[in-house]
């Protein structure tokens, strides 16, 4: 992180506390806000003036923490409504450029989205993705979604029966709007060139327009048919 940022973190649970510590170590200015007195006193022993006691959904608490000059607000409390409201107020009232919200219950994700709060971090979703990652039967894995830029990065495991297995990268008929960016083979990754020959067991990473996802799945997937 080249530039020093002022970051407000709400919620001094395990996530918030560790996040504050890491960001401070990287040279950022951090205020952590915690509304449980006992927890605050514990965290305060280490973080001292970098932690404040109060309910961050009260506007004056955010103002006391200097929200108007914050470059980023991260809401990681255990309460989804609090995280939603804090990010909404940070963005819309105090014009903070960047907010990050934690989603505790994945079913609340749609509410965050309805209120225009993003990006979202959900431990449940992350673990689900890890499970997908460990279980190749799921086929395509979403590594990164950028819906506004209409881009996503996906990972796929090549099987014996995939049409792409045994092909030169230069000969691949990649759908328009997709690009092969790297290959993970036997534990290490590399950027392929036109002469790279894809093997069964390769994990390939591709960047693509979400609308061609199905074409790409069909091409690299087990059936190996491209319409």
């Amino acid at each position: 992180m080249a530039e020093r940022m002022y970051v407000i973190i709400v919620g001094a649970g395990k996530v918030g506390w560790n996040l504050a510590r890491e960001l401070l170590e990287k040279g950022n200015e951090v205020t952590l806000i915690e509304n449980n007195r006992e927890r605050y006193l514990t965290v305060e022993q280490e973080l001292e003036h970098n932690v404040q006691y109060g309910d961050a959904s009260e506007l004056w608490v955010l103002e006391r923490a200097g929200i108007s000059r914050a470059e980023m607000v991260i809401a990681v409390t255990g309460d989804d409504e609090d995280n939603m409201l804090i990010c909404q107020v940070a963005k819309e009232k105090y014009l903070v450029d960047r907010t990050i919200a934690r989603v505790n219950n994945p079913r609340n994700r749609e509410h965050f989205e309805l209120l225009g709060i993003k990006p979202l971090v959900s431990a449940t979703d992350l673990i689900l993705r890890l499970i997908e990652h460990e279980v190749p039967e799921y086929g395509l894995i979403h590594l990164l979604d950028l819906p506004e830029q209409r881009l996503e990065i996906i990972e796929m495991l090549l099987q014996d029966d995939s049409k792409a297995t045994g092909q030169r990268v230069g000969d691949l008929e990649m759908p328009e709007g997709s690009l092969l960016i790297s290959v993970l083979r036997e534990g290490s990754g590399f950027v392929p060139n036109a002469d790279t020959v894809l093997q069964s067991g390769d994990e390939i990473l591709a960047v693509l327009d979400p609308t061609v996802e199905e074409d790409l799945t069909a091409y690299f997937g087990p059936d190996g048919q491209l319409d």
């Binding site: 009260e58 409504e81 107020v89 079913r107 749609e110 309805l114 209120l115």
Partner: protein, 161 residues
Amino acid sequence: MFVLIVGAGRVGSSLARRMLNDGHEVSCLDEDPESHARLEIELDRQWEDMGGQFTVGTALEIEALTAAGIERADVFVASTDGDNTNIVISQIAKRRFNVPTVIARVLDPYRAEWYEHQGLHTICPTRVAIEMLSNEVRTAAARAAGELPPPGGVDAEDADV
């Protein structure tokens, strides 16, 4: 009219009875099944027999809101004990379900004021209490300064106590 009240605490349940009495169709959603008893205070019949509806569920669950009838609600009242919950579910009622009238009870005056400016209709009982108490104290001060007569019908000796 069909009135959906989320949060059947002291305020929500009294409002529910009153609206039912006024002849409206009333549905309540509360996460605590015990709240049902509060709806029946001073009623000689069951809430359901009076035509009322009661659903147990969390306000943020779309299934619970749907079961409580949000899709056909004319009025949505958010009166849970959480300001943030009330603010969030009111926005869901407005933006997602297009309920024509949405009212959120918000105890924190500052949050209430800001969301009111954002177009969310908020009722802030704290603000009302502050107004009433300020008026009382001001009246007492004016009386002490001799600008007002003592409270009507009370003689001087009692007023001193």
